[in-house]
Symmetry: C2
Subunit: 453 residues, 2 copies
Amino acid sequence: MILLKPIKFIDSNMNTLISDLQTLIRQPSVSAKNEGIEECARLVKKILTKSGISSEILRIKKGVAPIVYGEIKSKKNSSKTLMFYNHYDVQPAEPFDLWDDPPFSGKIKGKKIFGRGSTDDKGELITRIKAVEAFLKTTKDVPCNIKFVIEGEEETGSAHIDAYLKKYKKKFACDGVIWEFGYVDSKNRPIIGLGMKGLLFVELSLKESVRDAHSSLAVLIKNPAWRLIQAINTLRDSNGKILIKDWYRDVKPFSKKDLELISKEPFDEISFKKEFGIKSFVANKKGFEAKKALVGGPTCNIAGFISGYTGEGAKTVLPKYALVKIDFRLVPQMDPKKQVKRLKAHLREKGFSDIQVKVFHGEAAARTDPSNPFVAQVQEAANESFESSILNVSNAGTGPMYSFVKNLKAPCISIGSTFIFSRIHSPNEYARIDLLKKTTKCICLIMDKFASS
Amino acid sequence: MILLKPIKFIDSNMNTLISDLQTLIRQPSVSAKNEGIEECARLVKKILTKSGISSEILRIKKGVAPIVYGEIKSKKNSSKTLMFYNHYDVQPAEPFDLWDDPPFSGKIKGKKIFGRGSTDDKGELITRIKAVEAFLKTTKDVPCNIKFVIEGEEETGSAHIDAYLKKYKKKFACDGVIWEFGYVDSKNRPIIGLGMKGLLFVELSLKESVRDAHSSLAVLIKNPAWRLIQAINTLRDSNGKILIKDWYRDVKPFSKKDLELISKEPFDEISFKKEFGIKSFVANKKGFEAKKALVGGPTCNIAGFISGYTGEGAKTVLPKYALVKIDFRLVPQMDPKKQVKRLKAHLREKGFSDIQVKVFHGEAAARTDPSNPFVAQVQEAANESFESSILNVSNAGTGPMYSFVKNLKAPCISIGSTFIFSRIHSPNEYARIDLLKKTTKCICLIMDKFASS
């Protein structure tokens, strides 16, 4: 069987996978700060080329992170095209002092590789590249046409992926998309994700006076931190319910099939709580309720709050400015633009029109129909490589899946090597080497099954 | 008249005053960070010695900032002793990026000296030293005994001044204290301060999980920023009224004399608002109400709030930790220890016992009786040097005046060179050279009048 060769190749070439991943981690690429983006794009192109995949750097306009595009046509089967969507940018590494090793070290400790991006998404990307390479090196061909779309703005909300997908609609045409990540649960079962939540990221800020003042003047000068706190305290109750008028109005309810899949999905509450050192969930959710929230619960989360003096010790200052960063997770049929209008109307109605609202690019949610044949192909491959798998109606996180579904009309499925406790977006992010290997093999199997269908 | 000589000496020696002040500013001495404290104490001792004042470094225990003590006995009149209380430590200079010049540069631009501490309190200190020096250099004597008590922890709440005052009660014995500062209003009138508010500085914090999480998990993991915001939002209403049970219970009401002095006190609302770029005051206070608030209004001020990611751009993180720094100004008869108990009881009663309360040293408020003869002496001196003056029942700010009144039984009065808009505790703090000169002369006149009384 032809598939034995690439699988064997993966087993014997893990060292190259690991060193290529380390090389990628060691190139910081923080899109939020425009740090190392161009350098990382060039590095990814180099790694694609080295693996035998022809590649180019695509651009839409100056100041926008380029897309690294890779393509290889199948000699024996050019009727089907599989796309790998990934990203080469990473989240900021702050707070630096909570990392045990420098965040861009790519240090190996035991069977883990540490570093920002080690899993999200440089780890996932390397599994796709190495799966293709395994076929090329052992069979001089790939089972189906392959396209790589590797963007550089995913962590800041993929502001231009929609524009890229529109501009390169023909170039990017495909029959199925393997998404940039895929979680693996605490029992090492890969989670096959059929959807993603949307996201609306906003900054609310208030400037009261032209300069900070001595806090003795707080009898007279208004404190913007107080006012911002009063304002955002109207957004959400202590059980997580969002209090903005009509916030939930367009939410599409779960289908029977959704609820069936959710009920089947395992969720290890004990491990989850242990990992985060917590005793209970928001609104004391448990079991089925907790699972439903992960799949389809909208949120209003404070991602950051800053005002005044936050260093060591006491400083009696009355700050001139306060800022809060809030992310709202959205579920199917919630339109980010409509939700922004609702947020602004809420602030106006509550008397907080003086608060500035800065909107970062919003994403709508998307889901792939569980009955699409692509779903079964991926699930078979996962079962073979990982010995089990879980179908997930929607991931709790966000990606620009809606843009792909809308522009390419192709089903999108996430499957990958992201261990659920691998601390993505947090200090000491790591990738598990065993999962990198299994995922690379799984991608090989998906290519094969997808080609033969 | 003997006083003409020192006054003339001050006029001809302003360059030395300025360069000594620059030397002091260039030595950072941030007590909140224990930065440069010992170095600055030694520098102050050197400047005292250079001015002819015998001095020593006093200590109570390791790790506590030393007091620089200076003393010079009058040859002709040793029956009366005047004390100058000042401090050599400064507030942190953050945020650094809002300074036009480096905060410890001591740069002169026009008729101003810029830098952290240029006014508060190195500028004030230099006026006291130079007044004494003017007498010594021109008359080889001082009109009365002089004592300098220069501490290094004022900006963090003078945690050990009480211990120093207890330990050195005999050494520090005196008949009157000139306080470490004195405001000068927008019309260049010195404000003679007879009292100070107290201060209670606390940090409230909450840790929810052992690490930051991806914000998609906000459906389940509680956000400590939300909870902290809910908690502190119960402390105060939007008009500044503190909602903690019995918070105002022990407040001593204004006397008739207090209200009379307050009503006489000018307050330039227009200049004040212009300086800060604001349109209205807390609770829309105006005129007499605004003046009463400055003299005797308790506050609950957010001095700092931090949680999560506060850098550039978007980061979808669920923070593990949130912290707020709050300062409460206290007025006569409010006991800091009692108020802490009330705050803690409030949090308990509102269901927020999980919030950590860290108490920084609290100060009680203090006031000197307007009928004390020392008050008239200082007022006469101020009227002569500045051509006018204003009596103020209590400053809106805080200092350890209560410790002096309690331990030394001496009246304390503030008079000095702190222009009300000189941005103390804020970026671009500056001292006005004209006010440094007038204050130095005023201190000479006070010494003379105090000695002859």
